[in-house]
């Protein structure tokens, strides 16, 4: 094929194009490198130094506006290895930092150790030492000119205005590799919330980081801001939280629980706001701040009483007799009983099997059965419900389970704190499996009617039941944060949840619980003028003495507080549960304890039930 010579000329267009491009590039290079001095100036000063400006973390108030968690400045000693002189005054630095030469050398080795500090580079800022005190900082700042390449990074750490509520507040820790990987916000060395609201409200609390662009000279000395700081980004402070916790009540609750294992949860029924959430034993949140953090954290983890374990929302306990109101409600709603239905009690439920009960009149209708906590009554109720004619135990138990779930059992309630447990409510499949296909009937599972057997609940769920009864049939998902500055809390914490049980049945239960206080198991909770309603529980457990449980609310009409108390291995509900619960109610509603009840307070404060729990303190 002959060449088309008219097209061959096009090589000049293509060759010309790239020649022109190269000439333009050469002109631009000449501009940048030879004629334009500004790039040279920028570069003569060697490099930008981008200093992170940390926002101050949101502070935390209690429900009455008391500042509970605040920030305190803390200082890290940073350095850029490349910028250090060939030799620097080691002894001088030790004196300024108030450490020995050995300590300095070991910190130096840690910094360079790629295993402990995987991001080490001689060219980028490295942290030599953290948690510098205010005085050490002042001294170093004065002498900083002696140590080129060194600088000080200011950080905010937490300071606590209280010694309690560690389980609710949580703390902050340095981010780990996983945090950095999962969230682009974090850089190595940043802090993030750990446990409590610090963790669950981390995105609100942390704020937005800023940045300062500084210029350095060849010796690593800061020469001022790049272009007068017009490119700097000002950090945005984190949002403040207002807790629903009443910090005084929380402190009081923790005092009452000293020497005991267990939990107290108090809720304001109308709002679902948690007034106090005590987990015992607990720890001082200040332990996890500053240089002692690592050591203290390790000792908390290894403590056999597990203070880091939040029993109020992680502990799964048999609810015992505090479960009976839920049974009464289901039986009423399902028509198994009417308020006047009475069942006999021959010192217990005797029907092929035997479930014991204590001495009281017989037969009883619902309200006195709640007041006296009659086991037989609820066993009969469950028997008639499960073995209902024309239905199967499976279908009935399925219904039963659905009611329980509506009332907040069996699943996480959805509190705004990390690691809530869901408790346990058995369903028909569970029993089909555990009885391996053989028929099961009411008698096989009868103990669930009195909150024993397979049923497990968290103190939070028990407290939520008290709040539901106080409201006569609805509750709001319990939560510990009442307000977030400049925004609103999740709508989930403002919406009512209603179990499908009629209000009038809740009224019956409330009256029964009132009778328990006036003349039943909760007489110690009878506070004049407060119309307390209550229900005790004495939960059997395979490990040691019974657990002492109380659930109640007050005043009966227009209730202001609902409370659940759970004390492990403390015996009857009336011995510890009722006094502690009633003291919490009294403290919250009256502000102080009446003189005639001081003896009770005294007794609770001094009691120690850990001895009977079988766990040895060390």
């Amino acid at each position: 094929m002959a060449k088309d010579y008219s097209l061959e000329k096009r090589k000049f267009v293509i060759g010309g194009f790239i020649t022109v491009v190269v000439i333009i590039f050469l002109i631009q290079l000449f501009n940048l490198q030879v004629s334009d001095a500004t790039y040279k100036e920028n570069a003569d000063s060697n490099a930008f130094f981008r200093k992170v400006l940390y926002p101050s973390r949101g502070v935390i108030y209690d429900r009455n506006g008391k500042l509970v968690v605040l920030n305190q400045p803390e200082y890290d000693v940073m350095l850029i290895p490349k910028d250090l002189g060939n030799e620097f005054d080691t002894i001088g630095l030790c004196n300024v930092l108030n450490i020995t030469k050995e300590e300095l050398l070991s910190k130096w080795a840690d910094m360079k150790n790629p295993r402990k500090n995987p991001g080490y580079s001689a060219y980028t800022p490295q942290k030599l030492m953290s948690h510098l005190s205010q005085e050490d900082y002042g001294r170093l700042q004065e002498k900083l000119y002696l140590f080129p390449g060194f600088y000080v990074q200011k950080r905010n750490v937490r300071e606590y205005a209280t010694h309690s509520a560690a389980n609710v507040l949580g703390n902050i820790r340095e981010v780990n590799a996983k945090d950095v990987e999962n969230d682009r916000y974090y850089r190595r060395g940043d802090y993030t919330g750990d446990l409590g609201v610090e963790k669950s409200y981390e995105p609100y609390l942390r704020g937005i980081k800023g940045e300062e662009i500084l210029m350095k000279d060849a010796l690593g000395r800061i020469k001022g801001k790049y272009e007068d700081g017009i490119h700097d980004v000002i950090p945005v402070a984190g949002r403040d939280l207002t807790l629903s916790i009443d910090i005084d009540l929380q402190e009081y609750g923790e005092k009452l629980m000293q020497g005991k294992i267990g939990a107290i949860v108090a809720i304001e029924p109308q709002t679902g706001e948690i007034l106090c959430m005590v987990s015992a034993p607990t720890y001082d949140p200040s332990l996890l701040v500053g240089s002692g953090r690592g050591k203290n954290y390790a000792s908390l983890v290894s403590n056999r009483l597990k203070p880091l374990y939040d029993r109020a929302l992680q502990g799964m306990y048999p609810p015992g007799s505090t479960f009976k109101p839920t049974q009464g409600l289901i039986f009423l709603q399902e028509g198994t009983i009417t308020p006047s239905t009475a069942y006999p009690c021959y010192h217990g439920y005797v029907n092929g099997i035997r479930v014991g009960c204590h001495a009281h009149g017989s037969p009883l209708p619902l309200k006195p059965a709640i007041a006296t906590s009659c086991n037989a009554y609820f066993c009969w109720g469950l028997k008639n419900f499960i073995d209902k004619k024309g239905s199967t135990p499976s279908a009935q138990l399925e219904k039963w389970k659905n009611y329980m779930v509506e009332m907040g059992y069996g699943y996480r309630l959805g509190v705004d704190l990390p690691s809530e447990s869901r408790g346990f409510i058995p369903n028909p499949d569970y029993y089909s499996n555990s009885f391996r296909g053989s028929n099961w009937r009411a008698n096989s599972i009868i103990s669930i009617s009195i909150g024993q057997g397979e049923v497990l609940a968290t103190p939070l769920q028990i407290s939520n039941l008290a709040a539901t009864i106080a409201n006569r049939g609805w509750f709001i998902t319990p939560h510990v944060v009442k307000e977030i500055s400049d925004t609103v809390i999740d709508s989930k914490y403002r919406e009512k949840r209603k179990p499908s049980i009629k209000k009038e049945y809740y009224e019956q239960i409330a009256e029964g619980m009132r009778m328990a206080v006036l003349g039943g198991t909760c007489r110690l909770a009878n506070l004049p003028g407060l119309d307390v309603c209550g229900k005790t529980g004495t939960a059997q457990n395979p490990r040691g003495k019974d657990h002492s449980v109380f659930m109640g609310f007050a005043p009966m009409n227009n209730p202001k507080i609902a409370v659940a108390v759970y004390v492990e291995n403390a015996g009857f509900g009336a011995t510890y549960g009722v006094p502690i619960g009633s003291l919490i109610i009294e403290k919250y509603l009256k502000g102080s304890i009446a003189p005639e009840r001081k003896y009770l307070e005294e007794r609770m404060l001094n009691a120690n039930t850990i001895i009977s729990s079988g766990v040895k303190e060390h």
Partner: protein, 489 residues
């Protein structure tokens, strides 16, 4: 038989284009040294340590030279005979890559084979070049013979483009656009390239200059309207060779312009968009009535060109605001200097300009660059490798590199034109196109003249795939070229 083989081999080395090979060797060695400088850390190991980028790059270079020699030892006809099979195999590998490649920063383009990671998109380049060359080598094939020939060429080009886009490697896919140079050389109308230049110019002007307003429209848009009118008049004059109509149109535009200026000065607001649309439509109607010469299709082309330009202008704002993704908008805006964003997208460019600018006339000296060492320039051993050269070797070094590339490209054009078959010529122009595009975009981006598009600098950027790809590309060309004196059977 044996003596013939020896003959063939010696002739390969006898007719090998040594200037290209020398430039190639200079570039790859300079590349490895730059990589060493870019990733140098004073307490780190030597240039040849295989744990360092530079050591690995020397390994890649060694393998490249072996690959290059192997290519030279094959008979030149193999590349023509197996052009389509090679193309199809590479395409299949690229399809597989989409599904098996791990997600690396959003792109699925790396095929991991044990310790080695390869980017099949890079090898698509020489495969596409071979296929395109083979197509043009078909018996009696010329591009302008029939329209379906364009389709066949475009299909060969756009299949790999689509596959690479599916791997989310927009930069590598754009490289294939450069093959339009090949089509141009083979007879595609220059109007296409002219349209492309106009489109880019209009786009840049319209997007870049948004203030102040003139006649109620942004000054950029105003300028583009004026440019469309000027291009229209020029096309009438030089392309249709019709001085009379061109003059009349120009008089009409000038007259209406004066009227509008007068109206504006006397305080009457003239809506700019409607004014321009009005006069352009009037001019188009006038030309379509007045054209009477025998070259009627040139008038039609001119009219369509003007109308399309106006429509293009209107779609620019839409495309820019609605079709491009925010990060792409941002990169374009930074490249055009509309936004100054020294920490975001502009940070890389700003830092790389500072690094290059700090080099001065003769540079800071090998390994003495501070900007690139401080790791302020990202991707400094890959896409931004030119920074290191600019900083350490200064204007002298960086312009030497640019001129070496220019020499290579001009040399390959020279090689292309001495080929006796369309196969050799088209293949060589493919090499030219790829080189032009890579150098234009990569260096343009580093010195702040082009948007940031992540493609490597040939022979310099760290990475085996890109180096091998360009080596294969170049050595196949050298092998084809070396056979130019052999007798055709």
């Amino acid at each position: 038989m044996e003596s013939k083989n020896i003959d063939a081999n010696t002739s390969v080395f006898r007719w090998l284009d040594w200037p290209t090979i020398i430039i190639y060797l200079i570039l790859v060695v300079a590349g490895a040294i730059s990589i060493y400088a870019a990733s140098y850390d004073f307490d780190r190991a030597s240039m040849f340590d295989f744990n360092e980028f530079s050591g690995k790059q020397f390994l890649w270079i060694g393998l490249s030279i072996i690959i290059g020699c192997a290519i030279l030892l094959f008979d030149y006809r193999i590349y023509e005979t197996y052009a389509y099979p090679v193309y199809i195999v590479v395409l299949l590998i690229m399809v597989v890559t989409i599904f098996v490649a791990p997600d690396i920063k959003g792109s699925r383009s790396w095929l991991v084979l044990g310790p080695v990671s390869l980017q099949p998109a890079e090898f698509g380049k020489f495969a596409t070049a071979l296929a395109l060359a083979k197509l043009f080598n078909s018996y009696n094939f010329t591009l302008n013979q029939k329209i379906s020939n364009y389709f066949r060429a475009l299909i060969i080009i756009f299949i790999p483009v689509t596959l690479i886009l599916l791997q989310h490697e927009t930069g590598s896919a754009l490289v294939y656009i450069s093959l339009f140079f090949v089509l141009y050389r083979e007879g595609m109308s220059g109007l296409v390239l002219f349209s492309a230049v106009c489109a880019i110019t209009y786009f840049v002007v319209a997007v870049k200059f948004v203030e102040p307003l003139l006649l109620g429209i942004p000054i950029g848009e105003f300028t583009v309207f004026c440019m469309i009118i000027a291009v229209f008049c020029c096309m009438l004059l030089f392309y249709c060779k019709d001085a009379i109509i061109s003059r009349n149109v120009l008089i009409g535009f000038t007259g209406s312009g004066l009227i509008v200026t007068a109206l504006t000065l006397s305080g009457i607001n003239v809506p700019g968009t409607w004014y321009f649309i009005g006069i352009i439509v009037a001019a188009l109607i006038y030309v379509s009535i007045a054209m009477y010469r025998h070259q009627i299709e040139r008038y039609v082309v001119t009219i369509i060109f003007a109308a399309a330009s106006v429509m293009f202008l209107f779609s620019v704002n839409y495309v820019f605001g609605h079709v491009l993704e925010p990060h792409q908008q941002m990169r374009i805006k930074v490249a055009l200097g509309i936004v100054d964003d020294p920490r975001g997208v502009g940070y890389n460019v700003n830092q790389s300009k500072i690094a290059i600018g700090s080099g001065g006339m003769t540079g800071k000296g090998f390994l003495n660059g501070t900007q690139t060492k401080l790791k302020y320039v990202p991707e400094q051993h890959t896409d931004f490798i030119f920074c290191t050269i600019g900083e350490e070797e200064g204007f002298a070094g960086s312009s030497a590199v640019l001129i070496a590339f220019l020499a290579l490209i001009l040399r390959v054009i020279h090689i292309a034109e001495r080929q006796r078959t369309p196969f050799g010529r088209v293949y060589a122009y493919c090499v030219v196109s790829y080189l032009i595009f890579h150098i234009f975009i990569n260096i343009g981006m580093v010195i702040g003249l082009c948007p940031v598009i992540g493609i490597p600098l040939p022979f310099f950027s760290y990475g085996g795939s890109a180096l091998w790809s360009f080596t294969i590309l170049l050595f196949i060309l050298l092998r084809i070229d070396a056979s130019r004196k052999e007798r055709r059977d």
